[in-house]
Structures are given as C-alpha cells and as structure tokens.
C-alpha cells in the first residue's frame, strides 16, 4: 500500500508552507530587531525583556487570564445542568434542543456580539428590565461585566455541547447497575455520571478558555476603547503601532503559555480516565 502513502506528500508540502512556516516567522520576528529584513537581521531578546519588565503588560496578561477563567467557570456552572437536562430528555426533544443551541453558533460571532450593544446600551432593554426591579442606573455597556457576558454568550454553546456529547455516550446500564447496588440518585450522579462526563467537561473548558483568553473583538465591542486584553495588545501592535517584532513576541508568549496549559489539562484528563485517553 506504499502507493497510497504518496497521496500525503502534497499535503505535507502544503502544511510545511502554510502551517509551520508562519509559526517560524512569528518566532523569527519575535527574536529580531525592528526594521530588519528577512535576509539580514540581528537577533535580540529585547522584545521579551520589554514585556516581562513592564508591570503594566503583565497586569494585562494576568487580567486576560482572570477574565477567561471567570468566563470558563460561569460557562461550566451554567452549561453542566443544561447539558444534563438535555441528555435526560426524550430523543426528539434532545434533537430539537441541540439544534436550538447550534443555530446561534452558525450565525456570525461578530453579528451576535454586535447585537448585545443595543441590548446593553443606555436606555436599552436590559437596563429597563433592571429598572423594573429597582436595580437600574448603573452603566452596563463598556464594563468588564459586559465583556464577560459577551464571552459567556459566545462560548457557552461549546461547553453545553461537549458535556452533552459525553453524557450521551455514557453506557446507561452503569446507572442501572449503580441503582441496583443501592445507590441513591445523588450518589449515582456523584460517583458515576460526573466522573464519566469528565472528558466532555475538560474539552468544554479548553474550548471556552482558549478563545476567551485571546479574544479581542469582544472586549473592543463591549468593553470600549480603554478595555485592553492581551488580544487587543497584539492587535494594537500590528494594526496601529506597527511594531511587529514586539507584537510577535507577545504572540509567542501567549502561544507558549497556552500550550503549557493545554498539556497540563491533557495530563489531568489522562490520569482521570485511567491512562486510556479520551474518546
């Protein structure tokens, strides 16, 4: 079957060009001085030094991780019960509910985020509703809360669908066995259902945390011009300031941190599923 293996060659060439080379270029830019050409360049560590010696940049990085972590927790707390509910309903309802959660995901993310501007702005629906309960007055748009809301809104479906998939894959005779052996529903849930759904939970966390930490249009649209997350910092370096080498260094830092985090998460997962990996 050697013959077929040659089919992969064009793609390997393409992947080197389109997937590996770009990463190499970012690394190259991040270690070279501003204004160098690709042919002649000077190696430097100044961009990394600049990032790590300035507390303001580090605060932005920290805040990005913090808000992504908060978003992930909220998504998990909201998403798990919903996914559980879906997995326990009848087959027909399940289909409908999964479809209902999928449709918004197909509608452009920018469009969905933009829609919140009208809802949150002064005199908008949300403020009026809060006003009815005597909670009105405060500004909603251009706050950290608005940014988090935007993130939860955009990424929650990932969490729900991942958990739901793993709940549905579960062998239901395990539940019967658990009940037969005298466990009450709560024990069954804690001892059987929850551990079995862990791969879904971990995938969900990854799928929420990764885009949340690097997102830049949600903070820009809902957080306003003065709300900077690490993604905005990178965008700003490339689009407005024009210091690509520094921007590349920030990108590298973020990519490496995320890679380490992912590896850590994978390790937890492998340990929990008895070394067998996920699905």
């Amino acid at each position: 079957m050697k013959r077929f293996s040659q089919l992969a060659l064009p793609y390997i060439a393409w992947a080197v060009m389109m997937l590996i080379l770009p990463m190499g270029l970012i690394a190259l830019y991040s270690f070279t001085e501003q204004g160098n050409t690709i042919i002649s360049f000077t190696i430097t560590l100044e961009h990394y030094a600049r990032f790590f010696t300035d507390p303001d940049f580090l605060i932005v990085l920290w805040r990005s991780f913090l808000i992504a972590a908060k978003t992930t927790v909220v998504c998990l707390l909201l998403g798990y019960p919903v996914a559980y509910f879906i997995s326990r309903s009848s087959e027909k309802t399940q289909n409908l509910l999964v479809l209902a959660i999928t449709i918004p995901m197909w509608i452009n993310m920018l469009v969905r985020t933009y829609a919140w501007i009208g809802l949150l702005s002064e005199g908008g629906l949300i403020q009026r509703l809060l006003g009815l309960f005597g909670l009105g007055g405060g500004e909603l748009l251009y706050t950290e809360g608005a940014v988090m809301l935007g993130m939860v809104y955009n990424f929650l479906p990932f969490m729900v669908l991942q958990i739901n998939t793993s709940l549905c894959k579960m062998d239901h005779s395990l539940l019967e066995a658990s009940a037969d052996l005298g466990a009450n529903p709560r024990q069954t849930f804690l001892r059987v259902t929850l551990p079995m759904s862990l791969p879904g939970v971990i995938n969900g966390i990854t799928l929420v945390f990764l885009p949340a930490v690097s997102s830049f249009f949600i903070p820009k649209l809902l957080g306003g011009g003065q709300y900077f997350l690490i993604g905005n910092l990178i965008e700003n370096q490339f689009i407005t300031v024009g210091e690509w080498n520094f921007g590349s260094a920030i990108s590298m830092i973020m990519a490496v941190i995320m890679m380490l985090l992912m590896m850590a998460v994978r390790r937890i997962e492998v340990r929990n599923s008895g070394g067998k990996g996920g699905a």
Binding site: A8, L99, P157, H172, P199, S214, I239
Partner: protein, 669 residues
C-alpha cells in the same frame, strides 16, 4: 490528541451516533426512575425546564432583538419608533455590505470544497504512511486548532507579507483552506482507521486500478466522515473573523470584517444584513436536519451515506442560489469611459457623502471599492506594506511623511480642474506648499464638545483642556483614541507646542494623560463619540470639529469650545500613492469630489468643513445645514493654534506612550 473528535464544533452528526445506540437503554432507565417519588421528579423536571427555557431566552434574545430593530424606522438601537424597510433598502444599496456577503459565502464554499477534497486525500495517504510521519503531521495539524486564533492569524499575515503576496481575496481563501483542512482530516481520520486495512488490497486483487479502489471502495466507506468534515469546514469558514481580518486587503471584506469596521457608529443596516444571515442560516440548518427525515420516510431503505448527503446537498444548493442572486449586484451597465475598472479608495470611516460614490460609479462606469481606517498610523502601516490603493485621504503630517518616504506620486496638474475652487486657508499648506501631491478634502480643528446643560462655560474658559482633569466631571468624559490628538491636548494644556521634540515636555504630557485616565474614569473611544454625544450620554469629549458639527446639528444642547491655549488646525487631503493601479481614474475622482456637487454631498452628510469655498459658504450661510454652528468654520485668529509637523523620532515616542496610557487606563478599572 486522541479525544480530538469530541472537540469538533459541529455537534449534530456526532450526536446522531450516540443517539442511535442509546435509546433502548434509556427506556429501561426511565422505568427505573418511575420508582422515585413523583413529586420530587416533577420538581426537578420543572427546575430543569425553567433552566433550559432561560438558556434559550439568553441565546435567542439578542438575535430576536436585532431582527426587530432591523425594521425600526428610526436610527436608535433602544427605541422602536415605527415599522420601516429603509435599512434593508440601505443595505441593498450598499456595495460594501452586499459584496461582503458574497465574499463570505463564496470563500466558505470554495474553501470547504477544496479543503474537503485535499483533506480526504491527505488523510488516506497519511493513514498508509509511517507511524512517525502520522504522529508529526497530527501535531502540525493541531497548530491552528490549539493555538489562539490571533496567533495563527498573525502567522498567515507575516507569511503573505514576507513573500510579497498581495493581500486580498486569494490570501483570505488560502488562509481559510489552510485552517479548514485540519478539521476535515480530523473527522475523516477515525473513519479510515476503522476500515479493514485489506479492503483496498482486496479490490485491487480483484482487478481494480488503485484509482478505482480509492473512489469505489474506500471513499464510499468513509463518506460520513467526509460529509461531517465538510460541514465543520463550512462552519469554521463562515464564522471566521480574526484570521480574515489579518490576511485581507484591497478592500476585500467578509461579513465579520464589515460588522467590525461599521460597529463604531449606530448603523441599523448592520441589523438588516444580520437578519438576512439569520434567515439564510436557519433555512440551511432546518434543511440539513429535516431533509434526511423526509427522505427517510419516502424511501425507508435508502442507504445511510446517501441520506446523509441529501441534507448538506440541499443546503449547498440553497447557498449557491443565494450567492448567485447576490452576485447579480456586481453587474455592469452601458458603455462609459471607465467601464469595468476599479477605484480603490482608503479613507476614514464615515467620511463620504450619501450619494457621491454611487454618482461617481454612475458617471464613469467604474466600481469604487472603499476601505476605511481609524487612524493615520493604521493607514500608514498598510501602505508601507505595499497594499495598492488609488486614493488615500491622510492628514497633513502624514502626507508630509508619505512624501518624505516616497510613497506618493505627483499629481498631473493638467488633469486637475479643482485647484481654484479651494478655500485659501487650505491651499499651499506647509506640508505640500504647491499642492503638487495633495488636494484638500476636509479641514478643521480639534476641540471640546460639551453638554451645555451639564457643563459650566466658565469652567471651560478657566481650565481649557485641563477640564479633562476636573474631578467635577469624573466619569463623565470621552477621550479620543488618537495618539496625536491626545498628546496635542496634554501639551497644549501644559502650555507647550504640540510639535515639541523635547523629551522632558513629552514626559510631562504623558504624566498629564496618565493622571487623567487614572483619576477621571474616561472612556477612550473613536467614532462612537458621535452618536453618544448626540444622545447626551456624557458631559464632555475631545472631538474633531466636523463630528462636533454633526453632534450639534442633532442635539441643540451641545456646544463646541476651542481652548485659548491653542489647538490643532488640521486638514485631510486626497493623494495618489506611487503604486496606484489606476491613477487616471484617481484624478477623475479627485476632481469629482472637489466639485461643488460632490463636495456638498460629502460635507453636508458628515459635517466636516469642506475645502471647497463655495460649499463652505453655502452650508454655513443662511439656510445651510450648519447655519450658525461655529464648529463648522475653523478658528483663524489664535496664534497658538498649530499645524502638525512630522517628526519620526517623536512619533515613535508618542505612539508608545499612548499605547501605555491606554494600558494604564485599562488597568486602572
């Protein structure tokens, strides 16, 4: 990444498998549940239903809200004032919007088709390759999936720029194909692995050629994987913003980019186009999910793979029809001098009149593609990286820089008919003394827009720009996100020249701004200030005179103040870059936009002061749109007012310091 299949963002197909082998067991399980007390079960059921309902409201509220407001008669996003289809009309007339819709769908379709074919072939090939090759390629494919999207995007951008590939439709398509293929392979791979490895051999032993073995034996077996891979690719492509944003150029935009660049100002046609997308997507999804059911009922024994194809095929057909319909909007007309040619303009956002572009197209037969920038610096980066435009509209100091660095071409004076129409104040300014390179477009000042019901005129007169540090107005101010104007404000407040190159003075200005953002809770905005001040949302803001005109004409309570300490007198002018592809047509446009009609349309619609003297008089004079609004006529009698001078060293310092100010502001919250 062994569990990667779970990460697929497209849930419907994965779900189907789970359901198929889960349901009989669930029946039994339900019988078990019956032993629980009915009351408790009902209670839990109700709680679950309530939660689910709440979730659906959460997911759909913004979408429904948007659909409703796309029919709003007024411009507001918060008050529904009556039913109207005007925003749909606006949308259909807007080139940018219709073309972005076309780009979105055509890129998604082509990228899906290519990546499905390439991805499937590559996956088959890889499955027969050595283990080590397989493992390495798996890691490589993970790059775009496991990296933050913005990192992938920047990688593509650097790639295209390094190899001097002109950014535009092709680069966007290439990038989309590149990030779609790994998803296709991810969903095809498991199906190939579960195949009997001897299948192809058997086919060939029986006399099939390798090609036939592939197409007749292997591909049909892995069809479900291919189809779901294609759907994932389509989803990823159609929803993409970040990668497209960094790799596009030449005015090519997809829907996401259009929404992103238009979202600065209230523009209900965004709602209209979004509604259109909602309708298309819902139809496609319903078809995908309903068609198989209908088909199955009709011919119960239909093959599974064929049934799964039916939905997507219908959907694809629908999208194709829709795209074909939209493509019509690109159509031409009778023979005119520039028929079939294209003019690429790179201009500020919200800087052209309502009709001028359409009129110009009508007259010349050319197509105008306009791209918008938010700052001179943003424009410069694109131009310096070799993007080709026919016309730019930068500000004074930036024109000086572009001339110095050789990015502009001299205008052909014999083709210009507009020089004598210019008002004296903008003719032959220091950055281009003989108007060899530039024809002014708009001009004005930078000042303070204030709500006369909230701000004491006395405070303004006493404090000038220092009012932005007056605790009385804490939390009630807008700053403008422009390094130049912000430093101008600080330097003027401190009594220095805004063209200073003294580091000491610049440091002081930086400290002034840091103090302002740390103590005053300002919002740093760009064009959002226009609608927000027109609605009286804050007391004070730093603003361009032209935007102030618009604000005052919308809201009588607003005023415009120029501090005695001096301000920036600026002008923006049309120039032709050295690498313009159609300078001929560019000259034509410069004349068109400087003529009375074009200039009047521009100035009356956006509120900036026209460089055409006659237009200026008409709009400011009796019966004009801006009659009696002082902001419309720039001040000419204060010796402290200055024009920006370009200096590379201070530019860098200011750019970095302003970036720091914004970060400090963000951290101060």
């Amino acid at each position: 990444m062994k569990h990667a299949k779970d990460q697929l963002p497209f849930p419907v197909f994965g779900r189907r498998d789970a359901r198929e082998n889960g349901s009989p067991k669930r029946e039994r399980e339900r019988a078990q549940e019956g032993q629980e007390s009915t009351v408790r079960r009902n209670g839990r059921r109700t709680a679950g239903t309530a939660l689910m309902a709440g979730m659906l409201v959460f997911f759909y509220l913004p979408i429904v809200y948007m659909v409703i407001f796309s029919f709003n008669d007024g411009k507001s996003l918060t008050n529904f004032t009556g039913f109207s289809l005007r925003w749909y009309k606006h949308m259909l007339e807007s080139h940018t919007m219709m073309e972005s819709l076309y780009t979105t769908f055509s890129v998604a379709l082509i990228a899906t088709a290519v990546s499905t074919v390439v991805g499937t072939i590559a996956a088959i090939g890889l499955s027969k390759s050595k283990k080590i090759v397989q493992d390495v390629m798996e890691q490589v494919n993970n790059l775009p999936m496991m990296n933050p999207e913005i990192v992938t995007a920047i990688g593509f951008m650097l790639l295209f720029i390094t190899f001097r590939v002109e950014k535009g439709y092709v680069t966007m398509l290439l990038a989309h194909i590149a990030f779609c293929i790994p998803y296709v392979m991810l969903s095809v791979m498991p199906k190939i692995r579960s195949l009997d490895p001897n299948l192809a051999d058997a086919a060939m032993d029986l006399g099939a050629t390798p090609y036939r073995a592939l197409t007749k034996v292997i591909v049909p077996q892995i069809m479900p994987g291919i189809v779901s891979g294609a759907l994932i690719a389509f989803t990823m492509s159609i929803d993409d913003f970040i990668i497209s944003y960094f790799v596009t150029g030449g005015g090519v935009k997809n829907l996401s980019i259009t929404v992103y660049t238009m979202s600065k100002r209230v523009n209900p046609s965004i709602n209209a186009i979004s509604t259109l997308v909602v309708v298309i997507i819902t139809l496609v999804l319903v078809l995908i999910n309903v068609a198989p059911v209908v088909m199955a009922k009709r011919q119960k024994k239909a093959e599974i793979s064929r049934r799964r194809l039916a939905g997507p095929a219908c959907a694809l057909a629908c999208v194709l029809v829709a795209v074909a319909v939209f493509a019509q909007f690109g159509g031409g007309g009778a023979s005119r001098p520039y028929e079939g040619q294209t003019l690429h303009i790179y201009n500020w956002g919200e800087y052209t009149g309502e009709h001028i572009l359409n009129d110009f197209e009508e007259k010349t037969g050319a197509t105008v593609v306009m791209e918008n920038f938010e700052s001179n610096e943003q424009m410069y980066i694109k131009v310096a990286n070799g993007e080709a435009y026919d016309i730019l509209v930068p500000s004074d100091y930036m024109i000086q820089r572009l001339i110095q660095e050789g990015y502009l071409q001299k205008l052909d004076q014999s083709k210009l008919t507009c020089l004598d129409k210019l008002t004296d104040a903008v003719r032959g300014l220091p950055y281009d003394p003989d108007n060899e390179y530039s024809i002014p477009y708009f001009w004005g000042t930078v000042g303070i827009v204030y709500d006369t019901t909230k701000v004491d005129r006395e405070d303004l007169e006493r404090e000038g720009f220092d009012i932005f540090r007056d605790q009385k107005y804490r939390g009630d101010i807008y700053l403008y996100d422009s390094e130049r104007d912000s430093f101008m404000m600080a330097l003027k407040a401190l009594g220095y020249s805004m063209n200073t190159d003294n580091m000491q003075e610049l440091e002081e200005a930086y400290a002034w701004l840091v103090d302002c953002v740390q103590t005053m809770e300002p919002e740093i905005v760009t064009d959002e200030i226009i609608d927000n001040m027109a609605q009286g949302r804050k007391a004070l803001g730093l603003i361009y005179s032209g935007d102030a005109c618009y604000v005052i004409s919308e809201n009588e309570d607003m005023g415009y103040y120029l501090p005695e300490s001096g301000t920036n007198i600026w002008s923006d002018a049309m120039v032709i870059p050295a690498n313009a592809k159609n300078p001929e047509l560019a000259h034509e446009f410069i004349n068109f936009a400087s003529d009375y009609e074009g200039a009047y349309d521009n100035s009356s619609f956006v509120g900036y002061t026209s460089a055409n003297e006659e237009v200026m008089d008409a709009l400011y004079g009796a019966g004009g749109d801006y009659e009696g609004i002082d902001a419309y006529v720039p001040r000419s009698d204060n010796p402290k007012d200055e024009v920006f001078d370009y200096n590379e060293d201070t530019r860098k310092v200011i750019a970095n310091l302003w970036s720091k100010v914004k970060i400090v502001a963000s951290n101060a919250e």
